[in-house]
Amino acid sequence: MPDNVVGGIEKIEYAAASLTGVVTTWKPMPNIAVGSVLHTKNVGTKSTINKEDGARTFINIFTPSEGDTLTIGLLSQDPTLLSELFSTKYTAATTLTEFYAEDKIANLAIKITCNPMKDGRKCIIIFYNTDVQTGYTNNITFDQVQQLALTAALGTYLTTGDTKAKVYSKQWVLANGTTIDSTAA
């Protein structure tokens, strides 16, 4: 049977966040910086109570961690995307973007389409509800470009008919996007 692996990025898209896990129209988030995309799954801390009569564990106590995060670096600064990420005033006639003093937390859904890495399958990862803070990274020099550094705090969503909150989804499809029925024969 084919293997399901995750790697390489074909494209990243975004839309307004959805609390129900339904997004119909995605907009492109172009020019991803190589090696900048990282999904961090935070793990809770463990503490142990041992028994007095030996070093054996009596009980493990797990403290929940902070939520997961997703970071993305963008090489280009598209005015439409800038207006999603920052509080801006954009004048298309002069391609002028003015940045307001206030900070903005962008509430976005983010879809990452990976490259087919193995057995002709690629992974589509969707985060439906994220709070994105954006900063800059890199000096402005002749051999670098200023990057937009997005840090998305991953929130939850609840699909219709489900009672448990979800954070993200992963779906493997064929290289051309065809859905796969993996039901055992």
């Binding site: 049977m1 084919p2 064929l174 065809t178 859905t179 796969i180 029925d181 993996s182 039901t183 055992a184 024969a185």
Partner: protein, 59 residues
């Protein structure tokens, strides 16, 4: 068996078959039932023999 029309392309890993949108195919009852739920197909013809005919055969 059922004759179905494919509404959305999909691949069946167990058989290695890929069905393309617009195509017509013959599906087992199980496969047809599964993908009627996903909305990927539309059942055109149920090729089951009528119950009455079956019952007659068994007699």
């Amino acid at each position: 068996m059922k004759v179905v029309r494919i509404l959305e392309s999909f691949h069946v890993a167990a058989t290695g078959m890929t069905y393309k949108k617009g195509q017509e195919a013959e599906f087992s009852d199980e496969l047809a039932e599964r993908h009627e739920k996903t909305g990927f197909i539309e059942i055109k013809t149920d090729q089951h023999e009528p119950v009455t005919k079956k019952a007659a055969k068994n007699q």
